[in-house]
C-alpha cells in the first residue's frame, strides 16, 4: 500500500535534480576540498560554484555570506549562539513559537549569563512587529523570529519585524529561521530584512544533514564548531560537497518553479480544506486568519484525539503529523499551540497536513474524503 504523503513539512521527497547533482559530485568532486591537488581543486570548485549560486538565490551581498552547515538545527544553533557569543549584550529576543532549535539553543545560553525574552503570538500564531520592537533595548544581542511557523504555517511579517527592531536599534542582528518557508516563499536577504537566515535542504527536496546560514556582511558570529577553520573560520569540518551541491540544485529548482508550486500545491491544499469543512463543519483551520504557507493545513478536530486519528490515518494509508514527536515517537503537546492560547485538550485534537512538490491533482479532495470517513467513525 503506497501512502498518501501529507507530511511534507517533516521532510519532503528528494528532487531528482538534487540526487543527480549528488551522484555527479560523488563521482567527480569527492576529494577533500581543502587539499592542494587537482582532485581537491575539483571538489573546491564544485563547492564554491554552489556557494555562489546559493548566495545569488538568497540575495546575499557576497558568496562568503553563505555558511554551509549540517542542517537547519545547526544553522539555528550557529545563528543564536554565534551571534550571542560575538556580542557584549546579554539578551536574546525570540518568539514563543520558534522551533526548538532556536528556543532550546537560546535557553542553553542561560548558563553563560544570557537572558531570553519571549514575544507572544495571537490565536493565528502571528507575531506583532511592534511587540518585538518594544522588547528591544540596549542589552539586546539578537532577535530571532521565524519566517513561517513549521506547525501552523503562519507567515510572520519578518520584514516589518526587522524594521521595528532597527527603528529602536539598527545594530541588533536579526535572525530568521526560514527552514519551513523557503520551499514556497521567496526568501531573500531583502525580502526578510534579516541578517541571518537558516535553511535546511531536506525541507525543499535536497538531502538530509545539509543546511546553510546566511551571515550577511558585517554581522559578527563566533564559531560553535571548532577545528580546521573551514567556512572562513565560522564552521569547521570537512566539506560535505555532494550534500551541498545537492542542496543548491534543489534550491535552483525551487526558485525556478516556485510559482507553479504555489499554484498547484495551493489548489490541492484549498480543495482539501474546502472538502473537509463541507463534510465536517465543526473542524477549525488553525491560522486561517493570517497569511499562511500554501502547503500547510493545520486542523482542529473537536472531540477527536489527534493521537488516535493519526494512527487511524496511518492505517488508512495517509501520513500526517501532530505536535512534534519525542524520541520514543509519542506525540508531545505542542508549545506552538499553547502559545496560541490552546488548552491542552484542544491542542491534543489538532493534526497537521502538509502538501509538497509530489502532490498530485485531486489528491487534496481525495485525502479530505478519506479523513472525513475516519473522523466520522471516531466521533
Amino acid at each position: 500500500m503506497s501512502h498518501t504523503y501529507l507530511d511534507h513539512a517533516a521532510t519532503t521527497v528528494m528532487r531528482p535534480c538534487a540526487q543527480d547533482a549528488m551522484e555527479r559530485a560523488y563521482a567527480s568532486a569527492n576529494a577533500n576540498a581543502s587539499g592542494l591537488h587537482r582532485p581537491a581543486r575539483d571538489a573546491k570548485n564544485a563547492l564554491e560554484q554552489a556557494r555562489e549560486e546559493a548566495a545569488e538565490i538568497l540575495g546575499a551581498s557576497r558568496p562568503l555570506d553563505v555558511v554551509f552547515t549540517a542542517g537547519g538545527t545547526e544553522a539555528d544553533n550557529l545563528a543564536i549562539t554565534g551571534a550571542a557569543l560575538a556580542s557584549r549584550r546579554r539578551t536574546i529576543v525570540v518568539s514563543a513559537v520558534e522551533h526548538e532549535a532556536v528556543l532550546h539553543t537560546a535557553a542553553s545560553l542561560a548558563r553563560f549569563g544570557y537572558v531570553t525574552t519571549t514575544v507572544g503570538v495571537d490565536r493565528s500564531c502571528l507575531v506583532v512587529p511592534e511587540h518585538v520592537g518594544a522588547l528591544v533595548d540596549a542589552d539586546t544581542a539578537l532577535v530571532s523570529v521565524m519566517a513561517a511557523n513549521n506547525e501552523i504555517g503562519t507567515i510572520q511579517p519578518i520584514a516589518a519585524i526587522a524594521a521595528a527592531v532597527r527603528t529602536v536599534d539598527p545594530t541588533v542582528p536579526i535572525h530568521t529561521d526560514a527552514v519551513q518557508a523557503f520551499v514556497s516563499e521567496p526568501i531573500t536577504v531583502e525580502s526578510t530584512g534579516a541578517d541571518l537566515i537558516s535553511l535546511a535542504a531536506h525541507k525543499f527536496g535536497g538531502p538530509k544533514g545539509v543546511g546553510l546560514l546566511v551571515v550577511n556582511g558585517g554581522v559578527a558570529i563566533d564559531p560553535i564548531l571548532h577545528g580546521g577553520g573551514q567556512e572562513a573560520g565560522r564552521r569547521s569540518g570537512t566539506y560535505n560537497v555532494a550534500g551541498i551541491v545537492g542542496m543548491v540544485a534543489a534550491m535552483r529548482e525551487v526558485t525556478q518553479t516556485r510559482d507553479h508550486f504555489r499554484s498547484q500545491v495551493g489548489t490541492e491544499r484549498d480543495a482539501f480544506e474546502a472538502t473537509l469543512l463541507a463534510g465536517y463543519p465543526d473542524a477549525v483551520i488553525n491560522g486561517v486568519d493570517a497569511p499562511r504557507l500554501v502547503q500547510h493545513s493545520h486542523i482542529h478536530f473537536p472531540g477527536v484525539l489527534a493521537e488516535t486519528l493519526l494512527i487511524r490515518l496511518d492505517q488508512a494509508g495517509i501520513a500526517a503529523a501532530a505536535g512534534s514527536a519525542c524520541q520514543s515517537g509519542a506525540v508531545e503537546p505542542s508549545h506552538v499551540l499553547k502559545a496560541m492560547g490552546f488548552s491542552d485538550t484542544d491542542a491534543g485534537e489538532c493534526v497537521r497536513f502538509t502538501f509538497g512538490w509530489t502532490t498530485e491533482p485531486g489528491e487534496g479532495s481525495d485525502a479530505a474524503n478519506r479523513v472525513l470517513a475516519i473522523v466520522e467513525e471516531l466521533q
Binding site: T308, I311, R312, Q315, C326, Q327, S328, G329, A330, E332
Partner: protein
C-alpha cells in the same frame, strides 16, 4: 479481525504479537509511554525505558506490523505515581503495577482498542482466559512459576471478552523457543522486575527524592509503644522485614508497622506479626461475587502461594469492606497490597488490603 498488542519490549509481548499474526489477525503494536524524566524523555533505566520501546519497535518492524508509542504520562502520573507516594506516606505498601493495570493500562487500552479500529486487546501476560457458555473466566497460566493472574484480577466480563492472553497457554521456555525460532531480538532478554517509574531500580530512592520526610531519622518502637532505638528513615523498611533494624535484642525482631508521617517503625516478635484475618476493600470480581461462608484460596502477595481462607464479611458496594479468616495464622499482609481470591486455578476477584487497626485506606 484486528488485534491491538500492548508491547513492552519484552519477550512475552513480542511473541504474543507473532502468535496473533499466526492466528490470522491484522496486528498493531503499541507501547505506552507512562513516565518521563523532567525533560520529557523516556527513562533509560528500570522498566518501560526508551530502549524497551526501541526493542518493541524493532520487533514490530521484524514482524512487519505498524507500531506506535501512546502518551499516557498524564494518566499514569495521576493514577499511579502520585497515589504510590501518598499511599506510602499513609503507611501503606502500594503495588503500582496493580494500580496501573486497574486504572490505566486496561481501561485506557480497551477504550483505545475500538477507537483504533481493533477487535481485541492482546498482552503478553502469563494467564489464561477461558469461555464457557458466554461466561469468561480468568485462569492461572500454564507456567505456574510465571503466573501473572494475580495482577489481572480486576478484569471483569466486559474486559475479558475483549482481551486475549496467548502467552498464558505456553511455558516461559516455549515462549523463548518461539522467539528464538522467529529470530526476535528479545528472545534472550531477561524478565523485568522493576517498577517502571523508579529508574534507579530502588523505589526507596524514588520516595526519598520525592518525599524527603521518609528519609528523616525517627524512633523504633516496640509493640507497647516504648522507644527502643533509632532508624535512619522509614523508606528503608517494609512490614515483615527482619534485617537492618539496628536493635540488639535477644530473639529476632520484625517490622510490624510503619508510620511515615510519625517517622516511627514498630517492631515485634514473629508471633506479633501473625494475624488470623485480613480486611479488604475496593473489591472487583471476574464474574459473580462470592458470599459469606465461602471458602476461597487467597494470595496476599504476588510471589507467595495461595492460602485457605473463609469469607466472614461481604460487602455490596465497591467501597465496602470484606473480611477473610485465614485457616492458619499468616504473616500480616502489608496494607495497600492486593488480596486476590482463587477457586482452584480460577481467579474470582480481588481488592486492596486495608489496615483495620488504623482504618487507613478505608472509606
Amino acid at each position: 479481525m484486528k488485534a491491538l498488542v500492548a508491547m513492552s519490549g519484552g519477550v512475552d509481548s513480542s511473541v504474543a504479537a507473532a502468535l496473533m499474526l499466526d492466528q490470522g489477525y491484522d496486528v498493531i503494536g503499541v507501547t505506552l509511554k507512562q513516565w518521563e524524566d523532567p525533560d520529557g524523555s523516556m527513562p533509560v533505566a528500570g522498566c518501560c525505558t526508551l530502549s524497551d520501546a526501541e526493542d518493541a519497535r524493532r520487533v514490530a518492524a521484524q514482524l512487519d506490523i505498524p507500531y506506535y508509542v501512546l502518551d499516557y504520562v498524564e494518566e499514569f502520573t495521576a493514577a499511579v505515581v502520585e497515589p504510590f507516594a501518598q499511599g506510602y506516606l499513609d503507611g501503606l505498601t502500594p503495588n503500582p503495577c496493580i494500580e496501573c493495570n486497574r486504572n490505566v493500562r486496561f481501561d485506557a487500552l480497551l477504550d483505545r482498542t475500538s477507537a483504533l479500529g481493533c477487535d481485541v486487546l492482546v498482552t503478553g501476560h502469563h494467564a489464561r482466559i477461558a469461555e464457557t457458555d458466554g461466561v469468561f473466566r480468568l485462569r492461572r497460566a500454564v507456567d505456574n512459576t510465571k503466573d501473572q493472574s494475580y495482577v489481572l484480577h480486576m478484569l471483569d466480563q466486559q474486559a475479558l471478552s475483549k482481551v486475549k492472553l496467548p502467552i498464558g497457554e505456553m511455558t516461559k521456555s516455549k515462549v523463548r523457543d518461539r522467539a528464538r525460532a522467529l529470530g526476535l531480538r528479545t528472545a534472550e532478554k531477561p524478565d523485568s522486575q522493576d517498577i517502571c517509574f523508579v529508574t534507579s531500580g530502588d523505589y526507596r530512592d524514588f520516595l526519598r527524592a520525592t518525599h524527603p520526610e521518609v528519609a528523616a531519622p525517627g524512633d523504633v518502637l516496640n509493640s507497647e509503644g516504648d522507644i527502643v532505638g533509632k532508624h535512619p528513615g522509614t523508606a528503608g523498611y517494609t512490614i515483615g522485614q527482619r534485617k537492618g533494624l539496628g536493635v540488639a535484642v535477644g530473639e529476632p525482631r520484625y517490622v510490624l508497622d510503619i508510620e511515615p508521617r510519625e517517622r516511627t517503625i514498630t517492631i515485634g516478635t514473629y508471633e506479633d506479626l501473625l494475624v488470623s484475618e485480613c480486611v479488604v476493600t475496593d473489591m472487583r470480581f471476574v464474574h459473580l461475587a462470592p458470599a459469606v461462608g465461602d471458602d476461597v484460596s487467597v494470595k496476599v502477595r504476588y510471589r507467595s502461594e495461595p492460602v485457605e481462607a473463609t469469607i466472614t464479611q461481604a460487602g455490596t458496594a465497591a467501597g465496602d469492606q470484606w473480611r477473610f479468616a485465614f485457616r492458619e495464622p499468616q504473616v500480616r499482609p502489608a496494607p495497600g497490597q492486593t488480596l486476590v481470591m482463587y477457586e482452584g486455578e480460577y481467579v474470582l476477584g480481588g481488592g486492596t488490603i486495608v489496615d483495620e487497626r488504623r482504618h487507613v485506606g478505608t472509606r
